[in-house]
């Protein structure tokens, strides 16, 4: 459900509901196809007291269905919780050895893990030790504004105040070792609407989708 929703969490909006500026982002892959599952963050130039504007913690669900993690990318705030649910008829052994959070859960069919709090920011790759082809990412960020692209590469970051921002874009399939895509964004007024279109160069999807022919043991 989180995947379908455009997640714009705007701390400035909480402090001042009058701010109504927004940035519409459209991400494509260079061939005209929209890029979903990219995380877009906006950080105002200058210092920001991020902790003071933190939203209340939320609980997210990462499902496992047909040996695929859903969603591919889960955006989280420090202090949020995540539950891993197994909707398959086979066991999964969910784990991560990332610096953000190291953990493991053995999940029987239909079982859900306890809600796990993630405090540190960063990107945690999560896999299944039984099915090596499964992977998902927890993107934990305290950036003031954050959204994930859905519905053909569309994302909106709203409730923004006027000012100068830096936009960062991350996707699991960005070329490894290549620097993160960034863009300067200037919002002229509290009701400004900016449109940003960006082409991303992506590597092929590393997830292997199993079918009746392809096995991965």
């Amino acid at each position: 459900m989180q995947r379908l929703a455009v997640m714009a969490c705007v701390l400035f909006g909480c402090a001042s509901p009058a701010w109504a500026a927004k940035v519409d982002v459209h991400l494509t892959d260079g061939h005209g196809h929209g890029v979903d599952d990219a995380v877009i963050t906006l950080t105002p130039d200058g210092t920001v007291d991020r902790a003071a504007n933190a939203p209340p913690p939320a609980t997210h669900v990462v499902d496992q269905k047909d040996e695929v993690f859903i969603p591919y990318v889960q955006v989280m705030r420090p202090g949020d919780k995540v539950v891993f649910r197994n909707s398959d008829s086979t066991r999964h052994h969910v784990y991560s050895f990332s610096k953000v959070k190291a953990f493991e859960f053995v999940l029987s069919p239909g079982e859900s893990s306890p809600a796990m709090t993630v405090v540190n920011t960063g990107i945690a790759a999560v896999g299944c030790n039984i099915h090596d082809h499964m992977i998902t990412y927890l993107f934990v960020s305290d950036a003031p504004a954050i959204a994930m692209s859905t519905h053909g590469g569309m994302a909106t970051l709203d409730h923004l105040a006027a000012g100068r921002y830096t936009m960062h874009i991350w996707h699991p399939q960005l070329h490894p070792g290549k620097s993160e895509t960034t863009r300067a964004v200037i919002i002229a007024s509290d009701v400004d609407v900016q449109h940003v279109a960006i082409d991303l160069s992506l590597i092929p999807d590393p997830r292997m989708f199993m079918d009746r022919e392809h096995l991965d043991y």
Partner: protein, 396 residues
């Protein structure tokens, strides 16, 4: 007694609920336009699976693959096939246990024991050790399917970086002592006739009268073989692996029925990468195999082969094109005489998967080969083989 029965029942229920089972299978039927020459599978010198000309309907094969996840770390795997190209046989391609505990560090280790393929083929990753790209694997992987199998244990150590992953595998094995015999007796082939425990490999009739078949997976002598494989993989870039195999067989050891051990060792190099929708696979192999049927008499066959495959990932459609070269060089048979073979092959295949359970494949295979052994049979050493196949494969 009643208490014991209840306890046993409870244990069985717990064991069943703790296990995950999966079953995969395929069955393949074909229409084949075969080369005129008799196939090696029927004792001839033809290099393809089918021969004797004409258009034939054939049973391509069937296999059942079963797995049981006994614990989160312990997997049992079995692959049983049925073939009738040479003789109707049910044989076991693989049967092993794999123990892979979860690791919350960048290092992870795995232990695998039983019968399994050495990690050579970059083509055969589909059900029943088939290739998703072509019906006929390359010459290298045709031989892997015919004569190479590990009966032993393999240890694997991985280091998993954010981008780069390194993997080292090493194994100790027995029961692969005849490996290499078919490369000397027949030379390379291009065939998807894979052999397993319980099947017999046929030698060309010119090499052995009457018809001779042998079990390629038997222990002759008491030597233990080994392989080591170093693999690098980088997300979005590709993979490279280098392998050394040595069965360490005594080349003068033989069974009572006259099946000799062949001392076989080789290097194998493989690489894969993706560019847009195209998957590229390249493999190369070079090695030698030797036998000593008499004192002070050693026959050696050097072998080498390489191929490049391009496969297009176009959804339901998967075209593939492969070019390859292969050769053998025999020494020790007759002073001053060089024997062996050299040849090239090109394979073009078009795969269509209209449903998850259905695959159609049209494949054209063309082989040009020059083999001195053919002169002994009164044939021209140079020969061309063209095999066309239309396959319908049902998948479960």
């Amino acid at each position: 007694m009643k208490r014991c029965a209840c306890l046993a029942g409870l244990l069985m229920v717990n064991a069943a609920s703790a296990q995950d089972f999966s079953l995969h299978a395929y069955a393949d039927g074909r229409l084949v336009s075969a080369p005129d020459e008799t196939s090696w599978t029927q004792g001839g010198l033809g290099k393809t699976r089918y021969g004797d000309g004409g258009v034939q309907t054939k049973f391509g094969g069937a296999a059942v693959v079963g797995t049981a996840q006994i614990t989160p770390a312990l997997l049992a795997f079995g692959d049983v096939q049925f073939q009738n190209t040479d003789r109707a046989t049910v044989d076991v391609l693989e049967a092993y246990l794999r123990y892979r505990p979860v690791s919350l560090s960048r290092w992870r280790w795995t232990l695998q024991a039983g019968e399994f393929f050495p990690p050579i083929s970059l083509e055969n990753n589909a059900v029943g050790w088939t290739s998703p790209w072509t019906l006929t694997p390359s010459a290298i992987n045709s031989w892997v399917g015919e004569e190479l199998r590990v009966f032993g244990a393999e240890g694997r150590l991985e280091w998993r970086g954010d981008i780069h992953t390194f993997e080292l595998r090493t194994a100790l094995f027995q029961r692969n002592d005849p490996a290499g015999n078919i490369l000397s007796a027949r030379g390379w082939s291009l065939s998807d006739l894979t052999y397993g425990l319980g099947s017999r490999l046929r030698e060309p009739d010119i090499e052995s009268e009457p018809t001779a078949r042998y079990d390629p997976f038997q222990k002759i002598g008491d030597r233990t073989g080994w392989y080591g494989d170093l693999r690098w993989h980088a997300t979005g870039i590709g993979s490279i692996n280098l392998m050394r195999y040595d069965n360490r067989a005594y080349p003068d050891a033989h069974t009572a029925s006259g099946v000799f051990a062949w001392r076989t060792h080789f290097w194998s190099l493989g690489a894969t990468t993706d560019t847009g929708p195209i998957t590229w696979i390249a493999q190369a192999m070079q090695g030698s195999t030797a036998v000593e049927p008499f004192d002070d008499t050693r026959f050696t066959t050097g072998f080498r082969s390489a191929f490049l495959l391009a496969g297009w990932n176009l959804g339901q459609w998967r075209p593939a094109l492969r070019v390859e070269h292969f050769s053998t060089r025999d020494t020790g048979y007759e002073a001053g005489v060089v024997e062996g073979e050299h040849g090239n092959a090109i394979t073009a295949a078009l795969n269509w998967r209209p449903h998850d359970w259905l695959r159609f494949t049209a494949e054209l295979l063309r082989i040009d080969s020059t083999r001195t052994q053919r002169a002994d049979a009164g044939l021209s050493p140079k020969a061309d083989f063209t095999q066309m196949q239309l396959s319908v494969r049902l998948l479960y």
